[in-house]
């Protein structure tokens, strides 16, 4: 009689097996990293590599390229997210409110980087960056200009979802009919309601910037991944530890992002 229950049981077994096997596959390289970086010279385990990694003085003195890379990436993260938000949020809102006809065009442009591999973009950016170096110097920070382009598709999608969810037009019209000017509308009505989407877009950008290697490497600039790669030629254990740390950081960032969304959902019923 319990036909449905039997089918559900079979499904559960299938699910557990598949997810289990896949999880093992996913975990192996990560375990490999942990194993590799905790090898003690005479056998056994040690956390010496991590002690070194998190010792600022040692990094500063013995592994300057790593320090440069970390600082550069930190700056790149901030700059990229800032440029992306300042440029995209007002533009997307503006298009929805005043230039609905342009929406397809803006969307096309934002999704274009998906079709243009980073390696191709690098080739075309070389002359551009010659100009950038001429005006602004050779700092790695100016990679942010290119990073914003790489980030566009993901940020656009996140912001678009957020703006769609709140019916920008109606909110803006309501605010305007009550006498609000455009700045007020943007700052006090729209922005607070797309907080989740903004955070989403920002987190995605952070993850991407932390993982970027191609452009930095081919323009001979510094960032985290370039530093790790270089370090790998010298001290593979430390480099792997740094890579693992970067990965954990990205994981925390992205995991945190999924909770930002979840928290909002659980908050709404209380507000009603």
């Amino acid at each position: 009689m319990r036909l449905r229950a039997a089918r559900r049981r079979k499904q559960t077994i299938f699910r557990r097996v598949v997810v289990g096997l896949t999880s093992v596959f996913f975990a192996l390289p990560l375990l490999g990293m942990v194993e590799f970086t905790t090898r003690a010279p005479g056998g056994g385990r040690t956390l010496q590599t991590y002690a070194t990694l998190f010792d600022f003085n040692v990094i500063d003195a013995d592994y300057p390229e790593l320090k440069t890379g970390i600082l550069a990436s930190a700056g790149l993260v901030l700059l990229t997210v800032a440029i992306m938000l300042v440029m995209l949020v007002p533009t997307m809102t503006w298009v929805r409110l005043r230039l609905p006809g342009m929406r397809r065009t803006v969307e096309f442009i934002c999704l274009l980087p998906l079709t243009i591999p980073a390696i191709v973009l690098v080739v075309g950016l070389a002359p551009i960056y010659a100009w950038v170096a001429y005006f602004l110097g050779e700092s790695s920070l100016w990679l942010a200009f290119a990073y914003v382009v790489l980030v566009l598709p993901y940020a656009y999608r996140a912001l678009d979802a957020g703006l769609s969810a709140i019916d920008v037009k109606t909110l803006a019209e309501a605010a305007r009919s009550l006498g609000a000017g455009w700045p007020t509308v943007m700052w006090r009505i729209i922005l607070p309601n797309v907080r989740t989407a903004v955070l989403s877009a920002s987190f995605l950008s952070v993850a991407l910037v932390l993982g970027e290697f191609t452009i930095a490497n081919l323009f001979s600039r510094d960032n985290l991944q370039v530093a790790i790669n270089q370090l790998g030629k010298r001290d593979s254990s430390l480099a792997t530890a740094a890579a693992l740390a970067a990965l954990v950081l990205a994981f925390i960032v992205l995991f945190g992002m999924s909770f930002v969304g979840a928290r909002r959902h659980s908050r709404q019923p209380e507000e009603n």
Binding site: M1, R2, L3, R4, A5
Partner: protein, 376 residues
């Protein structure tokens, strides 16, 4: 499990009304933790009969239908079709046609292909398949749209295709799970009459689930009002309306006034007169009498004891809100041309018609969302 190999007859018209099979649900129980979705439900459906299950959300009507379909297991109880116990038979072998509330058409197939699907599974040769599908699409009046896809059809058209698909296989039982709830009001009324017409023509035993009482009353041979997993009353639409067995049924089906009265000598005394009682009424003392709006006559009377609050024109009829001397709000039905003659503040006399009414204990709670002060 392969579908039963019943031969599909060549023509719909060949079947006579009432050729359907008997369906019996025996003492069905189903719980989800502390919630009893089905609480000992027993229901007999005669061959060819159209039974509607009516009730508020959570009453178990959809669960009952799905247990009959085999899409859910009951914890205990039996399902019998044509005298055979089919409780352990999987859905695909039950030979029942089902129409869902929405989204049930396969999106990658045309209407015709959807309708032919069940026949295809039964290995009916393609020529006969086409003929049968055409026949059934004709029955639901969608022959012109046979080659359209679901997203190209309106909601009402999609449901017709769903109905045709269910009927194409000549099922023993037809199951409809709130098929009209997702449609516009006008389409709903139109389609429900068509469903009834088709069912009478084809003669299949049918179970129809809805939360809309007007719908249930309009289409069914018998209506079962459900609450908390069991039947409160199973009767013809007329009996359900005029002779409700419990206060819940009286409240749920149609609009009801609840007016204080004194019960004595087999009658209820209120509004300066008395009315006979329905079986199941309180026999003595203070009570509430459940009166339908159309059972209250309104006459303009400068010395009447009630005062008009508002009079509304509803199209084919009208409604009048009045307050009695003792502060009771009464909703009465009036002729549509009489609406203009009543103004707020006018005095009127309210007289209940002499039909039997149900009297309940004075502290009986009303059914949720059903109060005469909030007209539909």
């Amino acid at each position: 499990m392969s579908p039963t190999q019943r031969p599909v007859s060549d023509s719909v018209a060949a079947s006579e009304p009432g050729h359907g099979v008997a369906v019996t649900l025996v003492d069905l129980r189903r719980s989800y933790g502390p919630i009893h979705a089905l609480d000992g439900l027993t229901l007999d459906i005669a061959p060819g009969e159209f039974v509607a299950l009516l009730g508020p959300s959570g009453c178990g009507k959809t669960t009952a239908l799905r247990v009959l379909a085999g899409l859910e297991d009951a914890d205990s109880g039996r399902v019998e079709v044509a005298g055979k116990d089919i409780t352990a038979v999987p859905t695909s072998a039950r030979d029942m046609g089902m129409v869902f509330q929405a989204y049930s058409l396969f999106p990658h197939m045309t209407a015709r292909q959807n309708v032919e699907f069940g026949l295809q599974l039964r290995r009916i040769p393609s020529a006969r398949r086409r003929a049968r599908a055409a026949e059934v699409l004709d029955l639901v009046e969608l022959s012109d749209h046979a080659d359209r896809y679901a997203h190209q059809l309106s909601g009402g058209q999609q449901q017709r295709v769903a109905l045709a698909r269910a009927l194409a296989i000549e099922p023993q039982v037809l199951l409809l799970d709130e098929p009209l709830s997702a449609l516009d009001a006008k389409v709903r009324v139109q389609l429900r009459d068509e469903i009834r017409r088709i069912q009478l023509e084809v003669g299949t035993t049918t179970l129809f689930v809805t939360h809309d009482q007007e719908e249930a009353l309009a289409v069914a041979d018998r209506v079962g009002v459900m609450r908390a997993g069991n039947l409160e009353q199973l009767a013809s639409p007329h009996d359900l309306y005029a002779r409700p067995a419990t206060p819940f049924v009286a409240d749920f089906v149609g609009l009801t006034n609840r007016l204080p009265a004194i019960v004595e000598g087999g009658r209820a005394i209120l509004l300066g007169t008395s009315v006979p009682l329905l079986p199941g009424s309180v026999q003595r003392g203070a009570a509430l009498v459940l009166l339908r709006p159309e059972s209250i006559a309104v006459t303009a009377d400068p010395v009447g004891s009630a005062t008009v609050v508002s009079a509304s024109f509803l199209g084919s009829t009208g409604s009048l809100h009045a307050v009695t001397e003792s502060g009771e709000t009464v909703l009465a039905q009036i002729d549509n041309d009489a609406v203009a003659t009543f103004h707020p503040g006018d005095r009127v006399t309210l007289v209940p018609r002499p039909n039997p009414a149900l009297a309940v204990a004075a502290d009986t709670a009303a059914a949720p969302d059903e109060s005469p002060a909030a007209p539909a």
